[in-house]
């Protein structure tokens, strides 16, 4: 169980004309092996939230509490851009993450699941965006994280590629379930992926409400069921349109 409690996060305005409140009274508990999607308008502070959780940004009031863990938690972070190191091959990029701690069998099986085995010795410049994203996903899974953060990993992919990457992500996640916090502005995507959807308001970012996605995992590829569920959600939250 992970407890995220952010009382206040201030943000310096672009023109340095003072600070504004980015996040206020944000309180969220993640259960073990739960897939939670954060849905909110663009620019509402979702990436800031993930950076705080990943300890890239420590300038906030509040606490991130990984219960039942003494040492520093392992966090996998899939950024919006794949952020692969251009001077390392696909395999070397993944090896950097584990730094000799995991076996090469582990990498092989991850590459296999993500259908990237034949590209493992290729440099990132030769990969398409969809492939780079899958490498970034492997890099995050490889460290066997206590929490997996994903920041709109399917954005700016065409629909077919996005579906493909999404399916391989779900395949990997069902093989190795981890606690996931997934950020998106696309409600349909959230319904396909999540156990629970957290709806956010903009400026300052707050939790508006939480929705449990009751559709069984086996029906998640059925567009009709997803669409019906989406319409129901939109009835209650018309501002999500």
């Amino acid at each position: 169980m992970i407890n995220i409690n952010i009382k206040r996060k201030l943000y310096l305005a672009k023109n340095r004309a003072g600070q504004h409140l980015a996040i206020a009274d944000f309180n969220l508990t993640l259960h073990s092996e739960e897939f939670v999607c954060l849905v909110g308008p663009s620019g509402c502070g979702k990436t800031t939230l993930l950076n705080i959780i990943a300890d890239l940004d420590s300038d906030f009031e509040g606490s991130i509490d990984f219960k039942q863990r003494q040492n520093t938690p392992n966090i996998g972070y899939i950024f919006q851009n794949p952020r692969l190191l251009p001077w390392r091959t696909v395999r070397q990029n993944i090896e950097l993450a584990i730094d000799g701690k995991a076996s090469s069998d582990n990498i092989d099986s991850l590459l296999e699941t993500m259908q990237l085995s034949q590209f493992q010795h290729v440099y990132p410049e030769r990969l398409s965006l969809g492939m780079s994203r899958r490498v970034a996903i492997i890099r995050a899974f490889a460290i066997n994280p206590d929490l997996l953060l994903m920041d709109e990993p399917f954005v700016s992919l065409d629909a077919a590629t996005a579906r493909q990457v999404k399916n391989s992500l779900l395949a990997l996640w069902s093989q190795r379930p981890h606690t996931v916090l997934f950020v998106t502005h696309d409600l349909r995507e959230a319904i396909t992926l999540a156990d629970r959807i957290v709806i956010l308001t903009a400026a300052p970012m707050k939790i508006m409400s939480e929705i449990a996605v009751t559709i069984p995992r086996t029906d998640r590829d059925n567009e009709q069921i997803i669409e019906t569920f989406r319409q129901q959600v939109l009835l209650n939250y018309p501002e999500l349109k």
Binding site: A54, D55, L56, T72, N74, I75, G76, Y77, F79, N81, R83, L85, P86, W87, R88, L96, A97, D99, Y123, E125, I143
Partner: protein, 338 residues
């Protein structure tokens, strides 16, 4: 096959030969010959024009050592210097052959006697002097790199240290080697006592250190800029992966700054080579600089021609060094600009 060859030629800076390879690979010869004319023919014509202007105007300038030598006279001098080198090498080989025979003979007559072996003590030829200069410049350059790269890394990573060191860099960067030399000479004389079996001459150390002092700045500045301008997103990747400090530096920061570092090193080597000649002149380190100075003092009718040979040699070697560094820079930037 031909593609790989073209890639290699581009990488090594030998782009002149690319059209030839393309013709051999069966591409349209008219276009390629045009290309060949552009990248090889035009500079060739310019050089011929320069040689013509040189040989025409040289004879008009009268000095105390006679007229300035034209291209053909300089070429004669160059051949003469090579001849001198070959004769000297032959003399040296003969000397060692004679010594070997002498040693054998003495051992036969008296097996217990200690036989003296003397090294050959001939004069330095022009080729030897080129060798000394190259050795000196590389020693200075490597020292400069060893100082500048770590210091640049620290400056790039810490804005505070950068602010602290920056004024010093700005002040010391423009100092001429001629100003450093007396100080370096005095310090080396005081700190380094030579004996008969010292590894290095004082003059060599003085020249090398002067080269170091003048050439470390471009590498230092470029390394600092390269490290400071690293993509923050990639640094964050390292942080999220909880890489140790050492790993972050060696796996993320240095590879990312490598193109900058190599650009700096290329500039440094160029500066070093330029500085070296001045340093050798004054420190009397037996290299090209000393050669020029000696010929100037010598003042024979050949001197001007020999100095010209030195000038051209210095230029050509400087050009080759730059090309080598450029190739290294291209190789290590692989995966980015290319």
């Amino acid at each position: 096959m031909s593609n790989q060859l073209i890639k290699f030629l581009n990488l090594s800076g030998l782009t002149w030969f690319v059209p030839l390879v393309k013709i051999a690979a069966g591409e349209n010869p008219t276009i390629q010959i045009r290309q060949l004319f552009l990248i090889m023919g035009v500079p060739l014509i310019a050089i011929l024009f320069f040689l013509g202007a040189w040989s025409f105007s040289a004879s008009k300038v009268h000095t105390s050592l006679g007229t300035i030598p034209g291209p053909s006279a300089v070429w004669e001098e160059a051949l003469g210097l090579l001849d001198e080198h070959n004769t000297e090498k032959k003399k040296e080989a003969d000397y060692y052959l004679r010594q070997e025979e002498r040693v054998k003979k003495e051992k036969l007559e008296n097996p217990t006697a200690e036989v003296k072996i003397r090294p050959y003590n001939g004069k330095n030829t022009y080729v030897d002097q080129i060798g000394t200069s190259l050795f000196t410049v590389f020693t200075g350059f490597i020292l400069a790199t060893l100082v500048a790269v770590p210091l640049g890394l620290v400056c790039g990573m810490s804005p505070i240290i950068n602010t602290a060191i920056n004024p010093l860099i700005q002040i010391f960067k423009p100092v001429s080697p001629l100003a450093w030399l007396p100080i370096v000479t005095l310090v080396v004389s005081a700190a380094y006592v030579t004996t008969d079996d010292s590894w290095f001459e004082k003059s060599f150390i003085t020249s090398a250190i002067t080269v170091t002092l003048c050439s470390l700045w471009p590498t230092l500045i470029n390394t600092a800029v390269g490290v400071a301008s690293i993509d923050k997103d990639l640094v964050n990747v390292g942080k999220v992966l909880r890489l140790s400090w050492g790993t972050q530096i060696s796996k993320i920061i240095i590879p990312s700054a490598l193109p900058y570092i190599f650009t700096g090193m290329r500039l440094s080597l160029g500066v070093g080579w330029m500085v070296l000649i001045a340093a050798e002149m004054l420190a009397q380190n037996p290299g090209l600089g000393k050669f020029v100075w000696d010929e100037f003092q010598n003042g024979s009718s050949d001197s001007l021609g020999r100095i010209m040979v030195a000038v051209l040699t210095i230029g050509v070697i400087g050009f080759i060094l730059d090309r080598v560094m450029q190739t290294l820079q291209n190789i290590f930037s692989f995966g980015r600009a290319l």
